[in-house]
């Protein structure tokens, strides 16, 4: 990372430019999902709430100047390690802000840059203002030849800003997460990689296609078609999927059967990706799912895809085996492999962390331990939060300044956390299928 710093530094930037960049940081990456993860979860009552609240305000104030990817990092780390208590998480929900939209002249310019034509020349109709904010750009609606299309346009210069944004957040993350620099970089590298991929629209189209084709057989889901001729590094053109987001759809009071159907489709979609494709749509936030009139689930936005390495996969998912929790030696080995505990730990630490992680895994794996799981069960989510808070407030955990957990876990955990959350919002009961090797 420090090497990259130097390379970046070679670009001459005057004071004004730097200042402008600093201001602009906020505009770059949408931190929308922070809200979605923390929201809708049940509020556990906590005695230290007020204290955390104040702390959170301070941190938020410093962070709000950076926004964008900075917040994304803080939020992801908090989720992964459950280090940040609820109050912090709630405060981070304020990170939900709308990036200033691209002005229409800039949209026109972007089109001219890639197609030498204006949107009006390319499409039959084209909305002047954005209909939706995407994480690093915005979405316009257009029609052409009787088809309704969604056109995603990226903010210029985003890719460049990712690395520098992350550098800005480092000092905060260090203090916030009580880690040493090396440990932090271990995660930051992963985050940077994913964020950079997210800015690569060509890659996104390729992956969207690959995954949607591989998942085509799953009942009740639908993917948009992508149009290469109308896409480029900064523009993606795809079918417009008509329908409602989960929250709006729930307002129409769908039947339990309909909710289960959507929930099952979601589960199957992820099951197939994780266990058969070994790569996963790692951004399960509500904005990326659209429920259509007929109850099929439309899935968009493959910007963030995590490829799951084989050995991580095996270790991680053998943890959900129910009876494995009894076999301690095997479990400890997996904990080593997944970097939950390391040789740097003292015996006391090892024992403590093994017990904590066993408890966490037993809880998080609950849906896998039964044939069918009812995600409307708020108690389950309450327990997760309470455990998270308890761990976060535990001296043992706070003193340890080691990164715990493999870097790959960052996005896999986030994905499962996201799915659980979506299923909870749906109040769905789903058949929690497991891969054959685990049963």
């Amino acid at each position: 990372m420090s090497k990259q710093v130097k390379e970046q530094g070679s670009i001459p930037v005057s004071k004004v430019q730097r200042a402008a960049k600093f201001i602009s940081t906020g505009a770059k990456v949408g931190g929308n999902y922070v809200k979605h993860y923390a929201k809708k979860m049940v509020n556990p009552s906590m005695n230290k709430d007020e204290l955390h609240q104040n702390n959170a305000s301070d941190i938020y104030n410093s962070l709000s100047e950076l926004k964008g990817s900075a917040l994304k990092v803080a939020q992801m780390m908090s989720m992964d390690k459950n280090l940040l208590p609820r109050a912090y998480q709630d405060k981070f929900t304020m990170a939900q802000y709308s990036a200033p939209p691209l002005s229409y002249p800039l949209v026109v310019k972007t089109f001219q840059k890639y197609f030498q034509q204006t949107p009006e020349q390319l499409f039959d109709t084209f909305t002047r203002s954005a209909v939706n904010a995407a994480s690093i750009g915005q979405v316009h609606q257009a029609t052409k030849g009787g088809k309704t299309l969604a056109i995603k346009i990226q903010y210029p210069g985003i890719a460049d800003s990712v690395s520098s944004d992350l550098r800005l957040v480092r000092p905060f993350a260090l203090r916030l997460l009580n880690m040493n620099e090396k440990e932090l970089d271990h995660y930051m590298g992963e985050v940077e990689e994913r964020l950079l991929e997210e800015t690569d629209y060509n890659l996104e189209i390729a992956r969207s296609r690959e995954i949607s084709e591989a998942c085509a057989h799953i009942p009740n889901i639908r993917f948009p078609k992508y149009y290469d001729a109308l896409s480029s590094e900064q523009i993606i053109t795809m079918d417009w999927i008509e329908g409602k987001h989960i929250k709006e759809w729930m307002d129409t009071q769908p039947s339990q059967a309909a909710r289960n159907q959507v929930g099952q489709a979601l589960w199957d979609f992820y099951h197939h990706q994780v266990h058969n494709l070994n790569q996963v749509h790692a951004d399960p936030h509500p904005g990326n799912f659209i429920i259509q009139e007929d109850g099929t689930l439309g899935i968009i936005d493959f910007g963030c895809v995590k490829v799951i390495p084989k050995d991580f996969y095996t270790g991680y998912f053998s943890l959900i085996k129910k009876d494995l929790l009894i076999n301690e030696a095997e479990l400890n080995q997996i904990f080593y492999d997944l970097e939950f505990i390391s040789n740097k730990d003292t015996e006391v630490e090892k024992a403590y962390f093994s017990s904590v992680f066993s408890e966490m895994i037993a809880l998080l794996g609950t849906p896998f331990h039964v044939e069918k799981f009812d995600f409307s069960d708020n108690d389950f989510f309450n327990q997760i939060f309470q455990l998270g808070d308890r761990i976060a407030n535990d001296k043992m955990f706070r003193k340890s300044n080691q990164a715990r957990g493999s870097r790959h876990g960052l996005y896999v955990n986030r994905t499962y956390f996201g799915i659980y959350n979506l299923l909870n919002q749906l109040h769905a009961e789903v058949v929690t299928t497991k891969p054959a090797w685990l049963t």
Binding site: S14, P105, V108, K109, T110
Partner: protein
């Protein structure tokens, strides 16, 4: 009659020839020609013929700036949607189109202006004619903005708005000269953000209400 048009055409071509000759000289040699005499000789025209159009290289460079500006305006007017734009969008569209025009002549501009770019507060001196034309354009925008309430009328200050827009043009130019990002994406972002800031400042804001309130308190205490 016939000869007159022919002559006129020839004249026009000469002007064009001089402009193009100047640009290609700068591109090939990395600097201005040594003298008008030498320049005319290279173009195979008489020295006094050059003086019919331009009396100095300053004037030539100035004409090139104006040509860039006029081409930008021509392109803007071609865009159907331009007329429907708000003032803010019009100014944005102007800058984006202008930068595109500059891009076609980047090497020429870099040769002449890169070294001095950091010392210039605004655009280089030989852009004076361009500035005049731009000021007309900017005043029109400001006037339209006041009509549509996008720009707040403030005593003294609002008369200087066209000047402020000019400074912004200078800022964008300098930023672009130093921009090393692929496809000049950073310049695009710089334009977007600086124009938004400028128009937010020119628009009616909390400051106006505050001043109004302060004035009221002062007068009626």
């Amino acid at each position: 009659m016939e000869t007159a048009t022919a002559k006129k055409k020839e004249k026009k071509d000469h002007r064009q020839l001089i402009l193009e000759g100047f640009v290609s000289h700068v591109l090939e040699h990395g600097k201005e020609p040594a003298s008008i005499f030498k320049f005319a000789k290279d173009l195979k025209i008489k020295e006094e013929e050059v003086y019919n159009y331009f009396t100095s290289f300053e004037a030539v460079k100035s004409a090139i700036w104006v040509a860039l500006f006029e081409e930008t305006q021509r392109q803007l007017e071609e865009q159907e949607v331009y007329k429907e734009y708000s003032v803010r969008e019009k100014f944005l569209a102007f800058l984006y189109t202008w930068i595109e025009e500059l891009k076609k002549n980047r090497s020429y501009l870099l040769c002449l202006y890169q070294e001095k770019s950091s010392t210039f507060k605004t655009l280089p001196k030989d852009s004076r004619d361009f500035k005049e034309k731009f000021s007309d354009f900017a005043s029109e925008l400001v006037m339209e903005g006041k009509e549509t309430q996008e720009i707040a009328s403030r005593p003294f200050i609002s008369e200087k708005y066209d000047e402020a827009l000019w400074m912004q043009v200078g800022f964008v130019f300098r930023y672009w000269l130093d921009d090393r990002s692929p496809r000049f994406e950073k310049t695009d972002a710089a334009i977007e953000k600086s124009v938004n800031l400028a128009f937010d400042l020119m628009g009616k804001s909390a400051l106006d209400s505050f001043l109004d309130f302060a004035k009221f308190l002062y007068q009626h205490k």
